[in-house]
């Protein structure tokens, strides 16, 4: 790959091309018309070809360079966003917007809550609050079972280590379980 095939040179190539084009067209506009109009076009095509030839010389790996340019552009845009969104002003604005949305949502929920509850009662379905309370009770039951399991393990360990005359059998090793086993199966410890 040519060492000149870099984004900077590509940019310079475009700057050079635009400069030459502008210069050519301004001269063409002000100069007296030649007897042969095609002569002007030939000059333009020659200049255009020379520019693109220079591009080939500058960047034989044009495609890779273009890809890199595109990714660099995305990165630059991302950094630009980060600069804007990384300000205190943006954070404050975002927080306030959020709070407003949540407040509006809360107000709406409270307004329609009685009607929603009545509809659910009529359909004999549990409301969200009832489900929440049920979940809390389930979590509490799980915690209590966890405590029982821990105490059992401690007692078993104490018996295993403390009683040499009558050792307690070690708990059976955990069975190999299919990872696709349905929810609700607990593992033996």
């Amino acid at each position: 790959m040519s060492p000149q095939a870099s984004p900077n040179n590509f940019t310079e190539f475009w700057q050079d091309f635009l400069r030459q084009s502008s210069s050519f067209w301004s001269q063409a506009a002000t100069a007296p018309q030649p007897p042969d109009p095609s002569h002007a076009w030939q000059q333009f095509v020659t200049m255009w070809t020379a520019c693109w030839t220079k591009a080939f010389t500058l960047s034989p790996d044009t495609i890779q360079t273009s890809q890199k340019l595109w990714m660099d552009q995305l990165e630059t845009i991302s950094q630009g966003f980060a600069k804007v969104m990384g300000t205190d002003t943006f954070a404050a604005m975002q927080g306030q917007f959020f709070e407003q949305q949540l407040s509006w949502q809360d107000h709406l929920t409270k307004t329609i809550q009685p009607q929603t509850d009545a509809a659910l009662r009529a359909l004999n379905l549990p409301s969200r609050n009832q489900m929440d309370r049920l979940f809390e009770r389930i979590v509490n039951i799980e915690e209590r079972l966890d405590d029982v399991e821990t105490d059992t393990r401690l007692i078993r360990r104490a018996l295993r280590h403390g009683n040499d005359a009558a050792p307690v059998a070690d708990p059976p090793p955990a069975r190999a379980r299919n990872r696709n086993a349905p929810e609700g199966e607990g593992a033996e410890s």
Binding site: T57, I63, M71, L74, M85, D88, F135, E136, D146, R179
Partner: protein, 363 residues
């Protein structure tokens, strides 16, 4: 001066090559995205479910090497945000698979799909109840006196707190990967979550935590051009057949968000992002101070140079905060996830981690 005619010939050749690549791209797109759009099966490393508490599941991945490492390797991933199967992404691209092939018996805590019923789950429950019980189970199963503990991202916040509050914890070596400690260096997340205007309490009251949709939106906002860059990379590399399953797997995971428990999020936002209490030694859990200086285990800290979620300085803060004498910091190229689950992890993080752990795991 170069011959323009020769340069034109090279350019023509380059265009022909690109045309051939485009044909291959279209062919691969048709076969892998239109005819067979199914995602590759993920999390294929054999494992057992050895303990369960509600939604939280502890998996054991048995060692696959003839010579087994003496101590189990326990992974504690981030709570909420996304699922941990990125740690076992695809065969041949899996950190867990690599470790078990090197002889480690790996344990992974899967927090499950967080939803509103988990709103009361906080750091205290995890640090004082759940993690100790999981570790107890591991020690019983493995019949060893100690283990190696690895925290990822917010999982590292959990393990930092656990280690400090359990001075007699049976942890031989400690690994923290992209774990935020100095939240002042937290980048955009620090700016947003550390601001007083962020309505954490209202959010938690209304949703019980961070709902899935909001989590996804927040992380997309961190890198607005992320999806465009990902799709561009896909197009540029779609002529390589082996690129596509990895893209599909990573894309599926990157859009598979879960929520975060309200209490946990509230603690993270108020105590850490807003006040940086952990680094200052002011974080209190059940009346006990979390002072990182009391962590004495050998420690390995890894950070990613292009991490916009946990910038390198945020992770490096752990090095100066702990009392460990034997500690190592590695800043590796890559982003928050690619550092431990990307292509370069094969040759960078995983071997370094394995060597470091093996050297310090003699029983």
């Amino acid at each position: 001066m170069a011959n323009p005619m020769m340069q034109a010939a090279e350019f023509t050749q380059a265009m022909q090559n690109e045309l051939h690549k485009n044909l291959t791209r279209w062919s691969n797109w048709m076969s892998d995205f239109v005819v067979s759009p199914a995602e590759p099966p993920m999390a294929q490393t054999p494992r057992d479910l050895v303990w369960k508490r509600g939604k939280i599941q502890l998996y054991r991945y048995p060692s696959q090497a003839a010579q087994r490492q003496p101590l189990p390797y326990v992974m504690v991933p981030w709570l909420g945000i996304s699922r941990p199967y990125i740690l076992d992404m695809l065969p041949g691209h899996s950190m867990i698979e690599y470790l078990v092939q090197q002889g480690h018996e790996v344990y992974l805590i899967d927090w499950g799909v967080i939803a509103e019923e988990d709103k009361n789950l906080g750091l205290e429950d995890i640090v004082f109840k759940i993690l100790p019980r999981a570790i107890d189970t591991i020690l019983d199963l493995s019949q060893v006196p100690a283990l190696n503990l690895n925290g990822f991202c917010l999982g590292g916040v959990i393990t930092n707190s656990y280690l400090r509050l359990h001075p007699d914890a049976p942890v031989r070596n400690y690994i923290a990967i992209v774990t935020p400690v100095d939240f002042e260096q937290g980048g955009l997340l620090k700016t947003w979550l550390g601001h007083a205007a962020f309505p954490t309490d209202v959010l938690v009251r209304q949703y019980g935590g961070i709902p899935t949709s909001l989590m996804g939106m927040g992380f997309k906002m961190l890198r607005p051009t992320g999806d465009a860059a990902s799709l561009s990379g896909l197009w540029f590399n779609m002529n390589k057949k082996d690129y596509i399953p990895i893209y599909k797997a990573m894309d599926r995971w990157a859009n598979d968000f879960v929520g975060m428990p309200g209490r946990f999020f509230s603690q993270i936002q108020h105590e850490l992002y807003a006040q940086n209490k952990m680094l200052k030694g002011e974080l209190m859990l059940q009346g006990r101070r979390v002072n990182l200086r009391n962590i004495q285990q050998p420690m390995f800290v890894a950070a990613a140079s292009k991490d916009h979620i946990v910038p390198p300085l945020a992770a490096k803060g752990l090095m100066g905060a702990v009392g460990s004498q034997d500690k190592q910091f590695m800043e590796l190229p890559g982003g928050h996830i690619s550092v431990f689950a990307g292509r370069q992890a094969h040759t960078m993080l995983w071997p370094a981690l394995h060597a470091w752990v093996v050297e310090r795991s003699a029983v």
